[in-house]
Symmetry: C2
Subunit: 331 residues, 2 copies
Amino acid sequence: MIVSDLPTPALIVERADLSANIALMAERLPGNRLRPHVKAHKCTALAHLQDAAGHHGFTCATPREVVGMAAAGLGADLLLANETLDPARLRAMADLEVPVTVAVDSPQTVAAAAEHGITRVVIDVNVGLPRCGVDAAGAGAIADLARARGLEVRGVMGYEGHAQPLPDRALRQQVTDEAMVLLAKAAQDVGGDLVSAGGTGNHDLNTVATEIQAGSYALMDSQYAGVVGFANALTVLATVVSTNAAGGYAVADLGLKSLGMDHGNPTTAAGAVWFCSDEHTTFAPAEPVAIGEKLRFVPAHVDPTIAYHDALWVVDGQDVLERWEVDLRGW
Amino acid sequence: MIVSDLPTPALIVERADLSANIALMAERLPGNRLRPHVKAHKCTALAHLQDAAGHHGFTCATPREVVGMAAAGLGADLLLANETLDPARLRAMADLEVPVTVAVDSPQTVAAAAEHGITRVVIDVNVGLPRCGVDAAGAGAIADLARARGLEVRGVMGYEGHAQPLPDRALRQQVTDEAMVLLAKAAQDVGGDLVSAGGTGNHDLNTVATEIQAGSYALMDSQYAGVVGFANALTVLATVVSTNAAGGYAVADLGLKSLGMDHGNPTTAAGAVWFCSDEHTTFAPAEPVAIGEKLRFVPAHVDPTIAYHDALWVVDGQDVLERWEVDLRGW
């Protein structure tokens, strides 16, 4: 099969770019220095490549991702880097035959984990991004609570998400350092071996964390333009379904239901994007395009784009190599 | 089951609001005056209610929606109000045992329809929204081409999407009228009985169309604030998973993978939303909220929100009545 045979809209992964990205990160952060985050791709076939590159621990954002990774034989050391209070989902993770570690940041999340069979936790610490995480000064107390409930406390995590997209490297370093002062303080109070943090944006700047939770590096994202070395490996293939030469525009069959839109419109080398509708993108072609022609668009944000799709099509230029199920969708 | 038992994030439909919306529209546009657009909900269980209210023809945006509606026994008169050149998808629609009508707007889409077994078309006319549709002056020629290929031409369609969200009713009327002058001209040149157009925003203003393709009215959308009579029936239920009293914020477990974001952040009566991440929404609670508390958020755009979810949970206040599969996702 060749790329132009694919039904559209379709997610296209350039195998050479993906392989180069995985190899480069494995060189920079070998083995357990990286705990790849599967939320970026939600695809166990892709995670198998990360495992083969030497990373056997994985980060997940949802219980569904944890359960799916275990089912795919990738459960050597799974971390749910997120809080949940859902009894059924906690129980589903606890019932796996592989070790699962869950983030907690409050007495309530500690109690929920303990009551529903979880045995290992990390203390999620607020390192400056206003989201989950106990303030650093309170981390030790949460760890004490967890131990009092019989939970093994493996250490701390903290996500300095506010550092990731900063285009200036020196500023990224500074914000990272400020965040890691907080995490190091919490780590001292909490104990344990794990200091889990970071992401693609500062994977080479965070020297405090024992492991980096990067995910976007595999397929890359336009928001990490300041990060050197990784290629954009993912595009959305679309078909031109209508043209209007007098109006100076054409219409392709990708839209709001095939693109994560929080970072704005997709881009394409074929021309300037005007706007997206549910199933269409209107753009001004730089050169005339033909009805039926297939074009590649770069989504503005990879993670929520993939979450709309069933599959990733792995290609080598015009040749379609494989279809990978996006098998970790949902919660 | 009660609402607080639902796993989150979850789409919640208030049955009374949905029923009132369907009843009101059936009163305003009875029977075949309305061709409900299923793209808004992608749910055959909901479409069955629209059918029971007297509307037996439906509008679809994707071949998948057409095939799924036929499989659900709702295939009395299905219109794909969109262009496709995909041979397999055209063939799948042509092979259905129910009548399917497909939009065409170019020699290429006419040829694709004819070659892959489609027998009925409408001519899609550009009425001012720069998207699909042949310019009105060229509609007759496309109809001639279609008839020369043996296709039955049922009439015209044109979507005045640029009129729908205008908050001022007089301006909505004016833009609708301008668009319908173009569609009426094309209808004269094309022939056939069908003049299909309109949407929720101007369902009571478009008097040229023989049928209105409204979809959003059933669950409603914040962008139609200027439209009188329909209640917002859809919310996203989320669980508070973390709070930070000193920081003045709390975090709920809905985010970029459970919300269509093209119209911006969701809103909630519980407080002011700060930002959304992949699986989180950070907000400033108006009153203190408790970890584990479940809150309802109004998504900024219903259609791409539903496309992320497996199910709609139909509720009556705190009682969960039914789970409806979102069974028309994909293409």
